[in-house]
Symmetry: C2
Subunit: 153 residues, 2 copies
């Protein structure tokens, strides 16, 4: 039962929590919305970005470019983002959030809000506060483990 290295036990718990929280979030998001798409919308608005290239976004989220192409294509089809070719670089494109995308992000935030008190009943603020710095440190350490250190976007 506990024959696993400590690290694997930790990763296992993290995997389960990730799965539970993702399911919880997805369940309350507006129909058709996904965590991945919300994350893109949220990234722009939280950081005040206007335009970003798909490659920038892929790096920021640590996903591959093909994955980003896929998600952005769907988001553009749904009218949540605009994509134009970068006038300064023929290879690149520039993505921006449409008003519809901003409205969708607001709807998602509103939908997620009620989860906070629910989570508070399950996990105390003190526990979360204690966990956060340890997780941040671990994330940074694992991040640095990968071959080419990548800077955030």
């Amino acid at each position: 039962m506990t024959q696993d290295p400590l690290a694997f036990q930790v990763f296992n718990e993290i995997g389960i929590i990730e799965h539970l929280s993702r399911t919880m979030f997805t369940g309350v998001l507006p129909s058709g919305m996904t965590v991945a798409q919300f994350t893109v919308l949220n990234h722009f608005i939280r950081l005040g970005h206007h335009e970003r290239s798909p490659a920038d976004l892929a790096r920021a989220f640590q996903i591959t470019r093909p994955t980003m192409t896929s998600t952005l294509t769907r988001m553009a089809r749904a009218g949540l983002v605009d994509i134009r070719t970068d006038p300064a670089d023929g290879r690149a494109k520039l993505v921006s959030v449409t008003p519809k995308g901003e409205a969708m992000r607001a709807r998602c935030i509103a939908a997620i809000g009620p989860l906070v008190p629910l989570i508070d009943t399950a996990v105390s603020g003190a526990e979360l506060a204690a966990l956060l710095p340890a997780l941040q440190k671990m994330r940074a350490a694992l991040d640095a483990l990968r071959d080419p250190p990548i800077r955030d976007a």
Copy 2:
């Protein structure tokens, strides 16, 4: 930047760590193997189970039955598991790991082994030890948040 509720920041870090660790694991697994399939093999062998129904497995991993059907179908096709109809229940099936499946599990364990010292350079054992109980508690609390409390298989 830090306008998110504490819980969301924690979930965000957990999501990133999950992604990094999954990528790391998948990268060293034998070609064609996935974390999901390894998890099934490991579940049987670690717990000493002989036969389990797909529904049992789905419950144990907190995934839906269709997902389990999909993964088991591929595993059976690859010769890693055997699936037979349950003689005692016409609806159910019984899954067992084949010798080939056991060998594959051993190969995966061997492949994952070298990751341990690598991870140790990034995260100290003390940090992991401190994290584990907090994560276990959080996982249990989130688990209990879901509607019908489900007991482990």
